[in-house]
């Protein structure tokens, strides 16, 4: 049983966990911004009429969705040096997370745009708006509201996925737990502590999603 559970050791390692937590937060934040950019670009390509842009975007999205992040991470980690890019593990990790989440975000944005009722688009077409005006004035403002909650869901997934970067020795939260587990043979202390930290992030983001849901729910039709 866990009769030897040592809170003292956890306290001793707290600065390490703190650093790991901070690293996890900022590398997730950067990766999420990167993923948004990748997602918007992919979605824009995917909404084109011609297959020239659509086909590569679709292929990319399918390839990412049908393979595990860990394999993608190793692909970049072991593969990039072969192409002459010797990058720090942290950069490889952020790249992998951005490229992976970007594919999912592209689908979220696309679903948001497609969720706008056809009649809305017809009404704006009938009033003589151009494609850009329609997107800017009618479709995107409504799609924005629909996409915020799933985007926050994707942010939660991304934070959890970032744990895999510990496997290529990025000094983030899970890595801190691994260090405690292996240095002092205290896996319970190490992994339960980081689990608690991840839950902190999870409930934080979840609360944010709830807030945004309520805020967005009232922003459109004030009744």
């Amino acid at each position: 049983m866990l009769e030897n559970f040592s809170f003292r050791t956890i306290v001793e390692y707290l600065p390490l966990f703190g650093q790991g937590l901070v690293t996890t937060v900022w590398l997730s934040a950067i990766s999420f911004v990167g993923a948004l950019l990748v997602g918007i670009a992919l979605c824009a390509m995917n909404l084109q009429r011609g297959w020239l842009f659509r086909a590569p975007a679709k292929a990319y999205i399918d390839a990412v969705r049908a393979t595990p992040l860990l394999a993608q991470l190793y692909f970049l980690y072991f593969g990039l040096p072969r192409l002459g890019f010797v990058l720090p593990e942290l950069v490889v990790g952020i790249l992998a997370l951005s490229l992976n989440s970007g594919a999912y975000i592209a689908e979220i944005i696309r679903a948001g745009i497609l969720s706008i009722p056809r009649g809305q688009v017809e009404a704006s077409v009938a009033s003589g708006m151009t494609y850009t005006q329609r997107m800017r004035l009618v479709v995107l403002p409504q799609a924005f509201k629909v996409t915020i909650p799933p985007l926050l869901g994707q942010a939660i997934v991304l934070v959890k996925d970032s744990a895999l970067l510990s496997l290529i020795s990025v000094a983030e939260l899970t890595r801190a737990g691994q260090l405690l587990a292996s240095d002092r043979f205290m896996p319970a202390e190490g992994f339960l502590t980081i689990a608690a930290f991840y839950l902190l992030l999870y409930y934080g983001l979840k609360a944010l999603a709830g807030l945004s849901g309520r805020w967005l729910g009232t922003a459109g039709a004030r009744t």
């Binding site: 049983m1 866990l2 399918d62 390839a63 969705r65 049908a66 393979t67 595990p68 992040l69 860990l70 394999a71 993608q72 190793y74 692909f75 980690y77 072991f78 593969g79 990039l80 040096p81 072969r82 192409l83 745009i113 497609l114 969720s115 706008i116 009722p117 056809r118 688009v121 017809e122 077409v125 479709v139 939660i156 959890k160 996925d161 970032s162 744990a163 895999l164 510990s166 496997l167 899970t174 737990g177 691994q178 587990a181 896996p187 319970a188 992994f191 339960l192 980081i194 689990a195 991840y198 839950l199 999870y202 409930y203 979840k206």
Partner: protein, 224 residues
């Protein structure tokens, strides 16, 4: 150089097949167990007991709120402290089953809640028992909502099984990791690993999409 790599890779062929087999077996066992457990939990979650429902809800939140890698480490390294010795495979099955059950529980609960209360009332009025109501009236209607995300969940499960390689189980991802130590061509090795997963996952993704489209047929698509 290139030729040597190919020969070396070809030599890893049996290993790769074993890895793929391991990934499939691990996923399949967890998928079946997770589905059964998930449906049970989902029905309990929407059943009468408030307490039971919130206990399940809290557990689901704990699992959804932590990385799967951390869950595997917890199971693999901490259960032995309670006197339960596990090999990597069993630890993987437990972790994956638990993960799948939690996600499927929420999917099933959402499906059950989507069935209009009038349906339950009609079933009540015609004298069906609690189990009959669930079996004959609620679940068949809930399945329409449940099926597409359920298949999507299976894809996630197969992909998540790759994380079990972190505790040394020789699945497809682990095979890639082993091979790349000998054949230093990460691009090629993990491209092939990706192909392996793609072959397993892509048909399921297509199935999920098709189910989704069939459900959403009423929704007009924006084309203009």
């Amino acid at each position: 150089m290139m030729w040597q790599q190919f020969v070396s890779l070809a030599g890893s062929y049996p290993l790769a097949l074993r890895g793929l087999g391991m990934t499939v077996v691990l996923s399949l066992i967890s998928l079946v167990l997770g589905t059964l457990l998930g449906f049970g939990l989902g029905i309990l979650r929407t059943g009468g007991s408030r307490l039971l429902s919130s206990v399940i809800g809290a557990w689901v939140d704990l699992i959804r709120g932590t990385p799967f890698l951390v869950q595997i480490f917890l199971i693999f390294f901490i259960l032995p402290e309670f006197g339960i010795e596990l090999d990597a495979f069993t630890a993987g099955v437990i972790a994956l089953t638990n993960l799948a059950a939690c996600f499927i529980c929420e999917i099933v609960a959402a499906g059950i809640r989507s069935v209009p209360s009038g349906q339950v009332e009609a079933a009540l009025a015609s004298g069906l028992s609690r189990w009959q109501r669930m079996r004959q009236v609620v679940l068949p209607q809930a399945m329409r909502i449940v099926l597409p995300p359920l298949v999507g969940q299976y894809v996630l499960l197969i992909k998540d099984s790759s994380v079990v390689s972190a505790i040394g189980l020789t699945d497809l991802t682990r095979v890639g990791w082993l091979v790349v130590q000998r054949v230093p061509n990460g691009l090629l090795v993990f491209f092939l690993v990706g192909v392996g997963y793609f072959i397993v996952c892509y048909p399921l993704i297509m199935l999920a999409r098709r189910l989704e489209r069939r459900m959403g047929a009423a929704h007009g698509e924006v084309q203009l």
